[in-house]
């Protein structure tokens, strides 16, 4: 990873320790730290304290778009080249509801993915990483200039990190 800022990387085996560490780091006034976890852990996440992800807006918008475009498409196409089948009305809504429904789901889902991608990449921060973070360790990386690293290192140590390492 190029352009990664220097900082302190700590690994935790215990979830409560990790949560504690997060709070410590926040007290030290750091906001742009990164927490790694093999599973979404409520305790840690609440310590970090993010607001609810805005992805849901994407889902809503996508769903609505699908529904409306479904209606518009079926109706317009029915009248653009009017052909009668089975003595039914040209634009008969009941069958079209199915198309509307399917498009609702389809666009809803795709929009959700788009939202997921968009927001994760937008909130991406370059940070140091250790492969064990997807296995059984929780990690915290605090980017900080060299002169303050000692302090952070100590705080994390006290919080109960199993190991702490300084990244240049």
């Amino acid at each position: 990873m190029s352009g990664r800022p220097g900082g302190v990387l700590a690994a935790f085996r215990h979830v409560d320790a990790a949560a504690h560490a997060v709070r410590q780091v926040k007290e030290l006034g750091y906001k742009d730290f990164t927490v790694y976890s093999p599973v979404p852990n409520f305790e840690v996440m609440s310590a970090v304290g993010h607001r609810v992800s805005p992805v849901r807006v994407w889902t809503l918008v996508g769903g609505l778009t699908g529904c409306l475009s479904g209606y518009a498409m079926t109706m317009w196409m029915s009248y653009d080249y009017p052909l009668v089948v089975g003595g039914k009305a040209l634009g008969s809504v009941p069958p079209y509801i199915i198309i509307m429904f399917e498009l609702t789901i389809l666009l809803g889902a795709l929009a959700t993915l788009a939202g997921l991608a968009f927001h994760t990449f937008r909130t991406h921060r370059a940070a140091a990483y250790d492969p064990r973070f997807t296995n059984d360790l929780i990690g915290i990386f605090v980017p900080c200039p060299a002169e303050r690293q000692a302090a952070v290192q100590q705080a994390l140590q006290q919080a109960g990190a199993t190991e702490v390492r300084v990244e240049q």
């Binding site: 085996r13 215990h14 979830v15 409560d16 320790a17 990164t34 927490v35 790694y36 976890s37 093999p38 599973v39 979404p40 852990n41 840690v44 996440m45 970090v48 993010h50 992800s53 992805v55 849901r56 889902t59 769903g63 498409m73 079926t74 196409m77 029915s78 653009d80 080249y81 089948v85 089975g86 039914k88 008969s92 069958p95 079209y96 199915i98 198309i99 429904f101 399917e102 498009l103 789901i105 389809l106 809803g108 889902a109 795709l110 959700t112 993915l113 939202g115 997921l116 927001h119 994760t120 909130t123 991406h124 921060r125 940070a127 492969p131 973070f133 997807t134 296995n135 059984d136 109960g160």
Partner: protein, 450 residues
């Protein structure tokens, strides 16, 4: 659905690193059996492909069609595979919303099965049309002919339903895979490491990633749930919307959905049993999971059995001559054997599941699941072929027998399915690493001190 199993206390839960290790271990270099199985699957698929090419060259006549039976093995198999596809999303999405812990060990298998089943099912509408090279006309795209498609046709609903379902369930699978692939990446070596580095989409499990991920996953599940129910309803309307005696029934949507989940769960079991052996996952997939699946089977099985009964009742109660004759013909006509196969396999055999012994006996479950799959295929055969062979116009009735082409394509579809399944199973974690960990509490310092 609320039937969530309590893991028995004696069982020691594995640690996170054990989980990662055990599951990552399934991704090692394949053994001989795997290659043999794959080779077999591919050759069966090729047989189907050859039959299909032959059919495209000379026309549908090479299949066994006999007017008035204009839909035969192909549509039967289509419905069969679409049905199979249902349990996957059910287990992964619906049970997710229900927060039922036991799904974590099996949902990946179910989901993979779903995606490949839809992939297989999706082929059949193409295989069965007379002019496959014009099949794209079913898509509403602007063309110089200035023509559009007929949205009143249930077949078009199918086009939308099936494509949507394929897309959504694939997304769902991929999203679920990301953290696991990342985990695998971090323990893998060699070319697999490269593969996983790419497919894990730079996942590291940061707080931000989890933040959006968990939400997105929740909404996908929320969207997938109604979708599951809708897709097979739509498929059932292919029949319910027509006037064919034996098809024209309001009960079809719930009836088909129940049947779909039924057959799906059955195939999940059929797949899990060998998988668990081969991958030594006994520690993760055990009797509890089978029992829960068994309970699902029992529930849906009873629903299906009920539907059978209601069909006959309504046929009688409606007083409609054609309906009555059609159902009489099902049970006692030339296709009696198909009908009774279906009734016995789907209606009576699941009754054994009332016994806990059976539910927890893995060989028994395996055997049962095979019978149910057979029965469910015949259910579709009976509904489609037998109804068509005995319609309104007595003079135009006729008896249909599939030809070698039909059978080859049917077999080929299984080859195709298992080819994908095997390829996937050996290259991506068949048990969700992250989610299995999720249900096991992380170690806490105070516990350690205490």
């Amino acid at each position: 659905m609320a039937a969530v199993a309590r893991p028995e206390p004696v069982r020691v839960p594995p640690t996170y690193s054990e989980i990662t290790h055990d599951i990552a271990a399934t991704l090692g270099r394949p053994g001989r059996t795997w290659y043999i199985l794959l080779g077999f699957a591919i050759s069966v698929m090729l047989l189907g492909a050859i039959a299909l090419l032959y059919q495209i060259r000379y026309g549908l006549g090479v299949a066994g069609y006999r007017p008035p039976v204009m839909w035969g093995v192909y549509i039967t198999t289509f419905v069969f595979w679409v049905g199979i596809a249902h349990s996957g999303t059910l287990v992964s999405a619906i049970l997710y919303l229900f927060r039922s812990a036991w799904r974590t060990a099996v949902y990946r298998t179910a989901e993979v099965m779903t995606v490949f089943a839809v992939l297989t099912a999706g082929l059949f509408p193409l295989i069965h049309v007379g002019r496959i090279w014009y099949a794209y006309w079913l898509v509403p795209y602007p063309n110089q002919r200035q023509l559009w498609v007929n949205f009143k046709s249930p077949l078009l609903w199918d086009v939308f339903a099936v494509t949507t379902y394929l897309t959504v369930s694939t997304c769902f699978l991929i999203v679920g895979l990301i953290p696991d692939v990342a985990a695998a990446r971090d323990v893998a070596t060699g070319w697999r490491k490269k593969l996983y580095s790419i497919t894990s989409l730079a996942w590291r499990g940061t707080d931000q990633q989890w933040r959006h991920y968990t939400r997105a996953y929740l909404y996908l599940a929320a969207l997938a749930t109604p979708l599951v129910l809708s897709v097979h309803s739509v498929v059932s309307w292919d029949f319910a919307m027509s006037i064919v005696p034996g098809w024209h029934t309001t009960i079809f949507a719930p009836y088909f959905v129940a049947g779909a989940i039924y057959s799906g769960c059955a195939l999940v079991i059929t797949l899990l049993v060998p998988l668990r052996k081969a991958f030594k996952l006994e520690r993760y997939i055990h009797e509890d999971h089978f029992e829960n699946l068994a309970k699902l089977l029992l529930l849906t099985g009873m629903l299906v059995g009920y539907a059978y009964a209601v069909e006959y009742f309504i046929a009688w109660y409606s007083g409609n001559e054609a309906e009555r004759a059609s159902f009489y013909n099902r049970a006692f006509g030339p296709y009696w054997w198909a009908t009774w196969t279906m009734i016995i396999c789907n209606g009576f055999l699941p009754l054994f599941l009332w016994f806990k012994k059976i539910r927890r006996s893995i060989p028994a479950m395996f055997l049962l699941s095979l019978f149910i799959n057979l029965g469910m295929w015949f259910e579709r055969f009976v509904i489609i072929v037998v109804s068509l062979s005995f319609e309104y116009e007595p003079y135009a009735m006729g008896h249909y027998t599939p030809s070698w082409v039909d059978w080859s394509v049917l077999a080929g579809s299984f080859g195709w399915f298992f080819m994908w399944f095997l390829l996937f199973a050996k290259n991506f974690p068949m048990v969700s690493i992250a989610e299995v960990k999720e249900i096991i509490p992380m170690p806490r310092k105070e516990d350690a001190h205490a």
